[in-house]
């Protein structure tokens, strides 16, 4: 129900976040007296995409391809090397510490690891209540406590949990607390950095359902980072596929899964296991050769060409640009 309304909104509203030419290089130090920079880890290299208000944008790719870094850059937890991050039209990269701090309440993050994302020395109540208190959303202890209980109920936890410490909770419960904390400041935009990949399959579904439900209720916008393609397909409206710091493909969910264009996306999709031996037996597998290269010295030209089944010689020379092959379907491959 709410979902259809949402999708209507999506088309009308402009982007809530726009990433333009984002680059994040981590320096590699060495050298004599001074710590001279001898190289760069190109964690994110010229990435652009936008996130529309109210949608869920999925971000998939192999480990180390720069998904987390992209998310952290958007939230300014990492200073970008180059590029712009527009949040509701405002370029975050140009803001100072104090200005940023005010904006932070509108964008939040839910982490992958439910065990280390909560301060083990604080009670659940303190963890959720602290941001409310610090940002002075409520000035009264009692009100604050009520609000915490309300949030706990919202994410499906017993309000009595406020007294407990994180270690007394299971992984799924902690992830709910993490979500409640993100909601405490009434954020409009939430980066979910692999929020379910550390959880058991049976719990994953609970959290995914919760995230979807909350999105409907508070018209949230998600950047949903994951490497499990079936989960991403389930939750996302549009999907960005990254490979070695670059965007390989951007497309609508249905479009991407039904007709993936980039050879990497195709391989990725074919590698996803399906829990049915009958189906599996018939599925054709594109098993990629080789390993993911190091982002410190990525291959020249198209970063995927050493593993690409359809690569030709020129792929090693020309960096393919993101092209809109079909409406709203962007691919960075010169062979498509």
């Amino acid at each position: 129900m709410s979902r259809t309304q949402n999708s209507k909104l999506k088309t009308q509203n402009s982007a809530i976040v726009e990433v333009r030419g984002l680059k994040k290089y981590f320096p590699v130090f060495s050298g004599l007296f001074t710590q001279r920079v001898v190289g760069w880890v190109k964690a994110v290299d010229d990435v652009s995409f936008s996130i529309r208000r109210g949608e869920t944008l999925g971000l998939v790719g192999e480990s180390g391809c720069g998904k987390t870094t992209t998310g952290r850059c958007i939230l300014q937890l990492e200073r970008v090397t180059e590029g712009e991050i527009l949040f509701e039209g405002q370029d975050l990269t140009r803001l100072g510490d104090a200005e940023l701090r005010l904006l932070r309440r509108h964008m939040q993050i839910v982490f992958q690891d439910p065990y280390s994302s909560l301060n083990p020395r604080m009670t659940i109540g303190q963890i959720i209540g602290e941001p409310i208190w610090v940002h002075r959303l409520l000035r009264d202890r009692g009100e604050c406590r009520d609000r915490v209980e309300e949030l706990l109920t919202l994410v499906g936890l017993n309000p009595l949990m406020a007294q407990r410490y994180p270690h007394e909770l299971s992984g799924g419960q902690r992830q709910r607390v993490g979500i409640a904390r993100a909601l405490a400041l009434e954020a409009r935009f939430v980066v979910c950095d692999e929020p379910v990949s550390a959880l058991d399959v049976s719990i994953q579904a609970q959290i995914i359902n919760l995230l979807e439900e909350l999105q409907g209720r508070f018209s949230l916008t998600y950047l949903f980072i994951a490497h499990d393609l079936s989960v991403v397909r389930h939750i996302s409206d549009r999907i960005v596929v990254m490979y070695l710091g670059r965007v390989a493909e951007i497309a609508d969910r249905v479009e991407l899964y039904e007709s993936p264009l980039h050879p990497y996306t195709q391989a990725l999709l074919s590698a996803v296991p399906v829990p049915d031996p009958a189906v599996e037996a018939q599925r054709e597998r594109v098993v990629l050769k080789g390993e993911v290269p190091s982002p410190m010295n990525p291959p020249s030209g198209c970063v995927f060409h050493p593993r690409c089944p359809i690569a030709v010689e020129e792929c090693g020379q020309i960096v393919p640009q993101l092209r809109e092959i079909r409406p709203d379907h962007w691919v960075a491959c010169s062979r498509v």
């Binding site: 937890l77 939040q108 993050i109 994302s117 301060n119 083990p120 610090v134 940002h135 993490g178």
Partner: protein, 299 residues
């Protein structure tokens, strides 16, 4: 009959009230008997120090030249020293000095070190580099020189000794805490705190510091034993607290060595007191380290 049951239920409820702490203590004792033994000695020391006035048989300062160098007897359990002062009383009061010097120097030293270490890890980059260099410098500076310099500038006396012992502890604690701080810095809940728009001070003091409690406590207990020993060594070198303050190291200094043969009790008992207390703190600290974090390394 009825009264008996009343008492029984009362004591039972009293016990259940204490259950939390008693349970922890009981568990600790069962799992780490050595640590529990250490804790017991520490508790005895603490009692001796706080109740010194009540339990010591004599005033520790009163000299009695009629009773110089007396062997242990019913009147003086541990004998008397060369001024005719009661050794037992001086040892009991000496626990005060030892604990006061030990606790305050290691607490202040470790806390300062922890704050510096955490802040250095949190800010990273240039700040970290500069702080690290400075800590390296302090570390490479000979400990004994630091102590000697402090005493030379300020003279002997309890407060100065505390300072002298404290200074070298700061970089040592900072080093250890920084390394756990560095990994803490990478943990998501610190990122979460930043994402929530908290200030630096809040993140350092409220989110990072409480989470380096384990290395902090371990350093603290390790320092405690060391501080007591250092105080004794400094006093032995004549750089510690001043006579006639009752202090163990001081009791061992000079006189005890001179009279080691004619009046061995003057040397034996304070020596035992030092060894036993340092032993206890180390024992306890070790077990605490095992209990808190087997992976943590303290050098």
């Amino acid at each position: 009959m009825a009264r008996e049951t009343a008492i029984a239920t009362k004591s039972f409820s009293g016990f259940s009230f204490l259950k939390g702490w008693a349970g922890v203590a009981l568990h600790f004792t069962r799992r780490r008997p050595l640590g529990a033994a250490g804790a017991l000695i520490i508790v005895i020391m603490l009692l001796a120090a706080t109740l010194a006035r009540l339990i010591s048989p004599y005033d520790p300062l009163t000299t009695d030249y009629a009773a110089m160098l007396q062997a242990p007897s019913a009147a003086h359990w541990f004998g008397t020293d060369s001024f005719g002062r009661d050794v037992l009383s001086r040892i009991i009061y000496g626990a005060r000095t030892a604990l006061w010097v030990g606790f305050s120097s290691s607490f202040v030293g470790a806390t300062l070190g922890a704050i510096i270490g955490v802040a250095s890890a949190y800010f990273g980059g240039k700040v970290d580099l500069i702080v690290q260099r400075f800590m390296d410098l302090l570390l490479s500076f000979p400990l004994i020189v630091l102590a000697l310099v402090v005493v030379a500038v300020l003279g002997t006396g309890t407060v100065n000794v505390i300072l002298a012992i404290m200074v070298p502890m700061v970089p040592r604690c900072a080093l250890v805490v920084r390394s756990s701080g560095l990994s803490l810095r990478q943990t998501p809940f610190i990122d979460a705190a930043r994402a929530l728009g908290f200030g630096h001070a809040r993140i350092i003091f409220r989110h990072m510091l409480p989470n380096v409690m384990a290395p902090f406590l371990i350093m603290l207990t390790a320092f405690l034993g060391q501080a007591i020993l250092l105080e004794a060594s400094l006093s032995f070198l004549g750089l510690g607290v001043a006579e006639p303050t009752p202090a163990w190291g001081l009791m061992l200094k000079g006189a005890a060595v001179e009279f080691a043969e004619t009046a061995p009790w003057m040397a034996v008992y304070p020596g035992l007191a030092i060894s036993l207390s340092v032993f206890a703190f180390n024992l306890f600290g070790d077990s605490l380290r095992d209990a808190l974090d087997p992976k943590l390394r303290v050098s």
